[in-house]
Amino acid sequence: MSTAQFVQYLVSGVTQGSIYALIGLGFTMIYAVTRIINFAQGEFVMLGGMLSFTLAHSLGLPLAPALIISILVASLVGAGMYVLAIRPAKNASVVSLIIITIGAAIFIRGLAGVLWGVDAVRPPVFTGSNSISFLGAYIHPQALWIIGTTVVVTIIVHLFLSYTMVGKALKACAINPVASSLVGINPRTMALIAFVLAAAVGGIGGVVMAPLTLTAYNVGIMLGLKGFVAAAIGGFKSPLAAVFGGLLLGIVESFAVAANWGPFTSAYKDAIALIVLMLILLVRSGKLAEEERAG
């Protein structure tokens, strides 16, 4: 493998990984506060992309307001999902709540299919579509936007959780819901905030990736799955770990294609990614058990 090729695989992997990272981030935020794995996370990504297409392409709005409105609407859907579907089932077990999120995902997807039809669409790119040369490899300008957005969002989320009152309350709720409600933190409000933030991060992912990856009413399924894997690699605990998980998944997938060794053609790239996940979970499960005992 030449240097240029190596860099190219890395660039492709990091771009894909950034997308997975943003989705994984959303999974982690909701899980940390509510212990719910939100299977509608991919649908927020889809909504962001489809809305930005409608606003920026079909309605011809300038890019910046179109993107902001798309992200806001996706966040509103997140809030709506919590208020209408999750909160009313307050006494349900976590498993039931997870099943509710699957139902919500199917509902949102179906609605999108009716609203937008089944064809894939491409919202306008932010800044041109001629690739940029970089150490012998090529990168699409939109890919730079994706990577940059992931870095910025990750930093903001980290700062928010560490240095603001609401962020600290969220963290407290994640660490110990009972104790935090004793000191006056309302877990329901925190759950609502977590859903809104996760939907916003999903929406951001959707608007920034769709000009490169295309979007359609049903892209949420596969993206949600990849984001779930990213969050699982990160252990569903810290947002930073989910971002790391996403990047790792993207890079492993890319180099799995590069390996192309013997019978292991690119057909096996998904399998290789899953094997990596299983190895990590195996190593982690020991650690988790220790933590449980300690905690």
């Binding site: 493998m1 030449s2 090729q5 190219q8 695989y9 660039v11 492709s12 992997g13 771009t15 894909q16 997308i19 089944v118 064809d119 894939a120 669409v121 491409r122 579509s129 690739s131 090529y138 990168i139 699409h140 890919a143 990736m209 490169l212 990856t213 295309l214 359609a216 892209v219 399924i221 596969m222 993206l223 997938e253 890319s254 180099f255 294609v257 590069a258 192309n260 053609t265 690119s266 057909a267 790239k269 998904d270």
Partner: protein
Amino acid sequence: MRNYLKYAVVLILAVALLALGGISCSSGGGGATPTPKAAYKVGALFATTGGGSNLGKPEEETVNMMVEQINAAGGINGHPLEVIFYNTESSAEKCATLTTRLIEQDNVLAIIGPTTSGESLAIIDTVTTAKVPLVSAAANIGIVTPVSERYWVFKTPQADKEVAAEILRNMQQQDMTKVAIITNTSSFGAGGRSVLKSDAGNYGITIVDDQTFSTGDTSMQSQLTHIKGTDAQAVICWDTDQQAAIVAQDMKTLQMTIPLFCSHGIANQAFIDEAGAAANGVVFPAGKLLIVDVVPASDPQKEVLVQYKADYEAKYGKVVSTFGGHAYDALSMVVMALKDMPEGLDTAAARQAVRDGIEQIKDFAGISGVFTMSPTDHLGMQPGSLAMIEIVDGKWTWLQ
């Protein structure tokens, strides 16, 4: 409150029963209308929702339009044509149930559709056992082969084999000997991959890289980086519009200069919209419907193509699709067979007559090609039915 609910349920059930009765009365009473002859019933199985809906919807619209036209022109030898539509929801299981319903309950003389290969393969045994002719609108060649086991089954769309042959022949003419293929792992992509691998050698072409991707993948850059590292002179991508558009775009991003050939799966406007500037230069084989304006008047299909396109676009106000053409050909064949059928046959004999009639069709210029059926060929598409198309400045042009 409970009681009201109960009454409401009873009321709804009663209305539903009445409505059902009404339907069966109206279909049963078809013979009592002023038309002196009973209607010829044909079943149509189209996937108007679900994964196949992009294909099934134009098929349903096409058949609806044709039924109106045929009945307005006095029907078939004075018999009105009645097509009974069922939506298979792109599900093979659902399709199998509906097939039985068409045969047992609706007593149809023939069935057109289903839309997708999976659905079509799922009902072959049912129609064969019940002895009902089926004209499928799906691609897989297994639907009509081996022909000894497909006595009752025909199909109208070109199979992967013809499409692959057209691409490989074009490459051979350009003296290409090394090609890389990138295909979806779906049944459509896998079908293309296997036929390319088995037939490339016949055209003196070696496959130097064989890459795949999965449905839902959002980047093919890694696979294309691998292809870029080989000495391939061209890339063949076998998938439908959405992900083929990503392949085209990623090739442009990687600044690959070798040409991209695609399958007929991208024969719709969606591909051009999705791939944008990256669509330019992409070459693919497809039926002549797309490029009807540049088809010479001497072409046997010219007249039917122009007519169908004009009728469809006037009625539905949207661009015609090749998939509707598959349904056009299927219903046309059934209607031709019904025209030649003698009067007064019982259902079983009529079904046999329709089957025999379809098998005897010769030089029928349809939308997807010119068909000549025979006992050994239940697709019957003649060479020259496909055109090689290049996308130039976002428009389809015919490569001659």
